[in-house]
Symmetry: C2
Subunit: 515 residues, 2 copies
């Protein structure tokens, strides 16, 4: 078999069964190998940012990697921004990037670039094959890197001749890499510190500590110690809703976050590092934890979170069950002109059980998130790396991973335009995604940030850089153009009806919410 | 003044008066400085690939750099693919990329990345400011790098605190960098070789050798020596049409190119290197020049082309005027079902004088290019780096550079979807662009390439990766959604009428040509 067949066969045997792809000439052998691989699904994206964003959404929901198939340095570059988000999310992804045949590189033909240079900034792990024979072995290494807890970005560069040359064979994937657990000493030290702690305590949770099982133990700790449970501002995947242990969420703006945390005397971190300001601002702090507070790292993002929390709960002698449990809350139906708070109330009332919410709602998110706290159980996935344009692709990938659950994309208009091509993939694959496109005709966050960084009296040129109203974007037309049925809603009643219709149907729908 | 004001003021004084932008929080001070800079136009793109592609189009037509304004590593990454094309085109561009404040980087907040690592692969020149005081000086260096013949990609990383800190001042741009001219010995050696040459001679032209003035001297050389004039396959900017010296164009596929060149005994290269195959293919050659032929480099891409050709023509004792002049050809109006050849014939008949044609027509280009050889004088700009998605942005940028000329974008559907957001910028700025969207519902080139790389009997999964018909993309809807009036044409008559209407109006129009 050729190198491409050996690589794809190896990954297939290891359990990879989805490939998000935007291939070109140098990946044709990989396309052919995927074609022949039984059980491997191939999903086309019409831009590489769709491909990598979908792989992120898939990885967050499946907890295993999909393949991406990308075309040389420029094709990979188009996918880098959403790989940045995926890297921050701790998502498992295996990128397969075709390159020119090794003997062709010397000729510097038009698509030649420093491919490893493009790959490195947003990959945890990069390798270039040395021959057709080592591609399969590299596949096992990439798989191992990708599934390293909580998940990593592994990039394999595949020169075209290694893909097409015969003489390769499938390699067996051995044992999965060990998960790094928190030492018992750290757990007992943390328990002692919490037992001795004076004043308000916070248990600050991120990464895998936001899954249901870990949250249950966090709730036990809260029950025993009175600690407040606070979630990082941009969780990769937060499991929430009625019957689960609820968490508060740290506000986005640094000064609000600082105010939020100021009274805590002890903060224990699990699954993340102490929070910092998203951006720096003149005269405002980057570090947000209160001076003089005791900061304790229970588990980093790369250490197993659920076991650490269970160990801590047990060491504290916490009760077997959390007393902190979210009640079901179904807000009354709002009326009149639509706004994000009303969208939150309506969504909370009709949220399907085990829905997957992708939140790239930007300035519209703060009212929607708390409104859905007591909705039916669901996932909440956010923009972990701050690179806008992840929402629609992420929703597509999550829907591929979980075809029996409804995915709901809360998508701001500015970010939505980045990767609007994802709508086409939703239509093509009939993915069960309801897109709530929040159209405020603006990069609204930048209107706030302009003042926060100290710009006084911005003129018309500056303000025009933040404005999406000239011309107004008609998302219903764009959605129709890419094959996704769409409706516009300007009132709460219209939105309620459109959402009910979208949720009642299997397959993609877009609601353009005019806010 | 603060660092941002000093940098923008410095670039403004040097003659930069256009900024293509997609800024974020870390660029707000730069936005404010641009706002205050008299005569500097700020143009928003809703995706960074639009921003950099527009800067490429502007640079090719204006022969001077525009600024791009990009948001940290991920924002730059989104623009990298079109910077790759611009780098290959020899376009002058100055990228200004905001970064976190220097003291904030240690906190590894969500948007932190290896920004220099992202910049380096597609930049000729990269520099990070060390303080607010050196930003202006770096601006002069970036300008100098960008205008180095024929043009370079210069990237300035601007930490946010350097942008907002006070205490900077405008720097003066000194002398422009010297243009590297071809030594007279090379010219006289080349003249001697041509005088002595036996057998067919080709003068192979690329880069700046494809401008009207250089072509006139190439025509003189052809008149004297009988040399055939051949143009590189993907010219950045070819000046052609009735009354100009015509060139042949090397075919795309390697084996056709090899066949095309096989009988030449002497080939003189000016403005480019000897051609190589775009991709490698099993059993096919990468190097396309005939074995045993004498290959002479008159001027590299970085050496001044027009003077070298003039010197060579003079050394050969060529006549003062080229005898080789393109006649006007106005093909008769075709009828019936639309295809690329008919589009070429119709376009040739109605081409406005001094139009700018942007060709990302992919498989539809080969019939259109020769059909327009004898049209009114126009520019022809192609996909120099092979990274699809340059067409619509390039057209937008060219139209900004040349508001009094009609820009015509020949855009294949696959590449068009990459950066369809460029339509919105065309609408917003009322750019005089007619987009001919060639809808064949396919990555058609890959159907050809699949066989050429040796894939036999591809299955349905493989073929689905090349197919854009499920669902069919409705470009008229997408265009309307972004504010550009659009019409669909399925016959030559419909296309003719739609094109006449589009050319008669100032402002953007899209014609979806069903082929």
């Amino acid at each position: 078999m050729n190198g491409a067949e050996a690589l794809i066969g190896t990954l297939g045997n290891a359990g990879v069964d989805v490939c998000f792809a935007n291939p070109g000439t140098s990946e044709m052998q990989l396309v052919a190998a995927i074609d022949q691989q039984p059980g491997m699904r191939a999903i086309l994206g019409l831009f590489e940012g769709v491909v990598t964003g979908a792989a992120d959404g898939y990885g967050r929901m499946a907890d295993k990697p999909a393949i991406t198939l990308l075309h040389l340095g420029p094709g990979l570059a188009n996918g880098v921004a959403n790989l940045h988000n995926a890297k921050r999310a701790g998502s498992p992804i295996i990128n397969l990037v075709g390159d020119h045949a090794t003997y062709h590189l010397q000729y510097n033909s038009p698509l030649t670039s420093d491919l490893e240079g493009v790959a490195r900034p947003m990959s945890h792990w990069v390798k270039v094959s040395k021959s057709e024979r080592d591609l399969a072995q590299i596949g096992t290494e990439a798989f191992s890197a990708a599934i390293s807890y909580p998940g990593q970005i592994a990039t394999v560069v595949v020169p075209a001749n290694h893909a097409w040359d015969e003489g390769s064979a499938i390699a067996e994937f051995g044992a999965a890499p060990a998960v790094q657990t928190v030492p018992s000493q750290v757990i007992s030290d943390t328990a002692k510190a919490l037992s001795d702690a004076a004043g308000p305590i916070a248990l600050f949770l991120g990464g895998r500590a936001l899954r249901e099982g870990a949250l249950e133990h966090a709730g036990r700790i809260a029950t025993k110690t009175g600690a407040r449970l606070i979630c990082e501002t941009f969780p990769a995947r937060l499991q929430r809703g009625a019957g689960r242990v609820p968490v508060e969420r740290l506000p986005y703006f640094g000064e609000q976050a600082e105010e939020y945390l100021k009274d805590f005397k002890t903060i224990v971190f699990c699954g993340c590092e102490p929070p910092v300001s998203f951006f720096a601002y003149p005269g405002k702090p980057s570090w947000l934890s209160p001076e003089g507070a005791k900061l304790i790292r229970l588990a980093s993002k790369e250490e197993e979170a659920e076991g650490a929390l269970q160990g801590l709960a047990d060491a504290l002698g916490a009760p077997a069950k959390s007393a902190l449990i979210q009640e079901a809350v179904r807000p009354p139906a709002p009326e009149g002109k639509l706004d994000p708070a009303k969208i939150g109330a309506i969504l909370a009332a009709v949220m399907p059980d085990q829905a997957i919410v992708v939140d790239e709602a930007a300035t519209s998110s703060p009212p929607i998130f708390p409104a859905t706290q007591g909705a039916a159980q669901h996932e909440w996935m956010t923009l972990t790396g701050g690179s806008i344009g992840m929402g629609l692709p992420l929703a597509a990938g999550a829907a591929v991973a979980c075809p029996d659950r409804k995915t709901i994309a809360l998508q701001a208009d500015g970010g939505g335009m980045y990767t609007c091509q994802a709508l086409w993939t939703m239509a093509r694959e009939n993915l069960d995604v309801t897109v709530i496109l929040l159209n405020n005709g603006s990069y609204a966050i930048l209107n706030i940030e302009l003042a926060r960084v100290g710009v006084q009296n911005p003129g018309p040129k500056a303000l025009s850089m933040l404005d999406l109203r000239n011309p107004a974007i008609d998302w219903v037309s764009i959605s129709h153009g890419m094959g996704v049925p769409a409706k516009k809603a300007t009132t709460a009643e219209e939105f309620d009806a459109a959402l009910a219709e979208a949720l009642a149907h299997k397959g993609p729908r877009l609601i353009e919410a005019m806010i």
